[in-house]
Symmetry: D2
Subunit: 344 residues, 4 copies
Amino acid sequence: MNDFPRFNSDYMEGAHPRILARIAAENLKKHPGYGEDDICAAAKQKIRTACACPNARVEFLVGGTQTNSTVLDALLRSWQGVVAAASGHINCYECGTIEARGHKVIAVPGQNGKITPATLSDYLAGFWADEDHDHMVEPGAVYISHPTEIGTLYTKSELSSLHEICRQYRIPLYVDGARLGYGLMADGTDVTLTDLAKLADVFYIGGTKVGALIGEAVVFPNPEIIDHFVTIKKQHGGLLAKGWLLGVQFDELFTDELYFKISRSAIEKAMRLRELFTAKGYKVAYPSPTNQQFFLLDNETKRRLAEKVDFAFWENADADHTVVRFCTSWATTDEQIEELEALL
Amino acid sequence: MNDFPRFNSDYMEGAHPRILARIAAENLKKHPGYGEDDICAAAKQKIRTACACPNARVEFLVGGTQTNSTVLDALLRSWQGVVAAASGHINCYECGTIEARGHKVIAVPGQNGKITPATLSDYLAGFWADEDHDHMVEPGAVYISHPTEIGTLYTKSELSSLHEICRQYRIPLYVDGARLGYGLMADGTDVTLTDLAKLADVFYIGGTKVGALIGEAVVFPNPEIIDHFVTIKKQHGGLLAKGWLLGVQFDELFTDELYFKISRSAIEKAMRLRELFTAKGYKVAYPSPTNQQFFLLDNETKRRLAEKVDFAFWENADADHTVVRFCTSWATTDEQIEELEALL
Amino acid sequence: MNDFPRFNSDYMEGAHPRILARIAAENLKKHPGYGEDDICAAAKQKIRTACACPNARVEFLVGGTQTNSTVLDALLRSWQGVVAAASGHINCYECGTIEARGHKVIAVPGQNGKITPATLSDYLAGFWADEDHDHMVEPGAVYISHPTEIGTLYTKSELSSLHEICRQYRIPLYVDGARLGYGLMADGTDVTLTDLAKLADVFYIGGTKVGALIGEAVVFPNPEIIDHFVTIKKQHGGLLAKGWLLGVQFDELFTDELYFKISRSAIEKAMRLRELFTAKGYKVAYPSPTNQQFFLLDNETKRRLAEKVDFAFWENADADHTVVRFCTSWATTDEQIEELEALL
Amino acid sequence: MNDFPRFNSDYMEGAHPRILARIAAENLKKHPGYGEDDICAAAKQKIRTACACPNARVEFLVGGTQTNSTVLDALLRSWQGVVAAASGHINCYECGTIEARGHKVIAVPGQNGKITPATLSDYLAGFWADEDHDHMVEPGAVYISHPTEIGTLYTKSELSSLHEICRQYRIPLYVDGARLGYGLMADGTDVTLTDLAKLADVFYIGGTKVGALIGEAVVFPNPEIIDHFVTIKKQHGGLLAKGWLLGVQFDELFTDELYFKISRSAIEKAMRLRELFTAKGYKVAYPSPTNQQFFLLDNETKRRLAEKVDFAFWENADADHTVVRFCTSWATTDEQIEELEALL
């Protein structure tokens, strides 16, 4: 491994030091198994409070793929699939885990990584108007991510429209929040955590990429939409014997607004990073206000940059240009940004 | 049920009379179960001969959905999916049966209902070039249909190219032949059954829509590509206790070229039908040389026509126009065509 | 194939001649697809009447494995399994099709092929008393067959007790009736079709083994216990384009009590067959009042018999003895029984 | 939560302090994702060395259910199931996760929690002798656990026999080692880690219950028996973005024989615990030489004990007696044992 500055992803470090300290403090105590401990209970309560959603059910899982797979398996019946943007994570990078449990990902065209209300509405109206719909996969849920795969954000108005459409067709709206903190703390967004708890039927608060060692917190504002979630979670390998290990991390993240503060830090670093690039004349590929920044580089520039700093290949734009991704995270320091500046 | 002339589909009648007569002749004999009878053996041999493929394995199944589901389940490993045109039957009208057994349908853009060699090649090259392909669904087979969903046909050159690409990536090419007879006997096609047996790794000879009561014959030119097919077939509900019932139908269809003769009859009726429509100024929607004919009607014309004859709605072209489908079949008579002519 | 008298199974012949005649009469008419035709409607009505169950939903499927797989998939949620006798068909001879769709067959000890009420009650009470039941597969349905795998029959009192237990635990009782006619027409049974419609939540009336070419009729006395059955049926390969083909057979079977008459004929032949064997000193292995008769043979007798007549191996009793099965069916003739008598 | 001494399970504490210290030391470094880091590589190498198995493939997963589900999914084809003792963990307490991915758990009778070579051999011989085996679930792997569900251990001779039988039938032997350390360090065992690597085709070294925060290390002595394991692992939610978190724990556990030392400590505590109980006249329920100790208590004694100390209910022995489980672990201290002694 080289010692280049690394901006490849937002999951390279472990946990925020406060979290490690909490784990150490709890480490040799004896906790009941499977998340039935007091720390999990306290963490869930803090999340309910932060969501202004006192009746919400909160469940902890280990990682993002597992969470998407488990939640969708819990929401969908055997004859149903989930609507997602063609570019959505579950359609592209979940190695078929949704299908492995029997459910089609029904891809609809995305725009800037998002499903527009018009696209969703047209698709659902068309499905139910088709007299052969018994021969087709019924849309049983809608999947979006916030931020999206390319760092873009829904507006409150867009989320409200998607929410309304889902109400009309009586299907749940599920929001993948692997990087939720970075979305909530972005400049210019009008979407808050409490908005999300009103507009989504299920969402998860990503921990793995936002300060936790591992862990995601799924929130069901209305617990009645699911059944037997603990068993389904176990089938998907998400029921940890040491469930307190997940609870303690979210308990800490939702104490003194740590989750939001460290998310904001990543945003500030990302905005500085973008300024560095644009000041040097680099072209922004997608308009991301979040911690993932995408630049369009000619291949020669990309090659030269790759000799000094680590970043992620995103996609080939054309024969001569490439889109690359630079990520900041809760752990990114001013020094790291300055080091990058010196190299550009 | 009205007594309109009916051109809705090609599966409205039962079986060719010769087939019913054969079933009656065999009816009270005692046959070994599960297709291990002499009639199945004879039918398989006739199909091998017709395919010029002496080592082929031939397996009978009941219907098209079951055949697609069973064959793909047999071809794919748990981490694999099947590449299909976005408009392909398995992506649209199989109610998720492929996904229900754990496999993603990887949709690529189609052209005239077909996957072009360039599209396939680009997709496969891109997949393997992606350094994250371990996080994606691996393409484990390619699905096409011949004729396609909209009645179009591959040329021998196109099939050869698809075959070559599949060879290069070591994945099987599977051809859904629900209406195969109508494709093979179309005017202008250069694809024969023996070509298909050379260029496809698996294909099926559709019976349900081409003269049989029920039944499809799957051909594996190289039997080594599958394993435990009988058990997989049983898991999919396709292993009939009275397997001879399927064998006897194909034995008859492949005696005296019955399959080809009745397919040709349907083509001739379809060509006459198309002439009737175009002579009256109707516009052809898709260039189908097979038994399915698609016309673009303004909605008023469609309404008037629907008062006199039964046909299938296909899709809305725009706010004022509709694509409709008229099917002929092996059972279509001259009288039925003349009756239609009188109504147009 | 030798020309021995054949008593191997009850699915060696095709259909009752009246059924073939009906198919021939309907053969060249144009029927709507997928079972939405008038013949299916009429057949369903006749079955409702025979069951004295005017609101029942009736659905036709192709074969027994498919029916078990489809019905259980429709009854069970993803965290549930089905309770069955360890000797039950779905636990032994369905090649894992229940599991292939994600559901455990929860085996409990059987007695004479049956689940006793005490066994069921103890199992269910134990499951719910176990504080770890969230880590276990929840019993979501109970499967029995009538007649059972070894030809035995439940009494009305036993069925009533199972029914009560299932009510108590709010899970459906599903009765596999692959050979139902032979059970209903057996000497000494007190279970009628209308009893079954009161005591089972789902059952099927077997056609394949009782006079039909192919086909099983599933009856849901209370249609509300299932959802989206047509789509699930299609996923399992059971939705025939030519659905009328199944309807027409049951329409005929339930006209003039054909189903019951031919079932009774098989019973009479079976009783004669048993008398022949016992008169010659053969020992009955299981006390079956139905069309399957099981005898315990020493291996030398078995070998000699196998040189003259075809029957089924059932199981090794010990090193020197074998259980064998002789089946009669609706098609068994007096001549065949006499021929057998001459050989014993 | 009361403050009773707790002997409920072996997963109540977090990690050995050396492991927490290592995580803290690595916490703010930037690690490549998905286990492709140097620490994982080093940990795998240490495990290979400890197993004397230089070519082994080692893969880290998060927990036991996930490991069993992932490994068996990787070993089995769609028509195969896994043979296990009826009392085996995957047959009883994995909530159907094996079946959820399509595979039957084929239960055979156990003895003292173990499958005897004779039972396995008889079952496999019987399966392949059955002429209907194409209608049955083919045994595709054998699952045992060491220690078993009730703490018993296989002898080297028993493992060798199971190994030979699996060789003969060409199916892999998979050993669930959730508590492997406690088995390897038990008094009187003749099975070493290197033996296991010779006799099993796959096994896992349990971390969650033996000193790690979370994590299990799967060892494939011959890597060729699996394919696409990374993708399968991701489908099962076991591919952590922060894979180094698992690697670092095993790196520490396999440094200076930490894994073995802490396992031995648990054994010593368990032996003292057993002596305390037997000295007081309590009756041992199962002959476990490992960290789980089972006692047969009359219900009044059980009730009284439960007022002072936490332990696990195991099963009802009869109306008046109960089997209970007391666990020690790597973290059990002398003080805890002494505290228990004072209470008995």
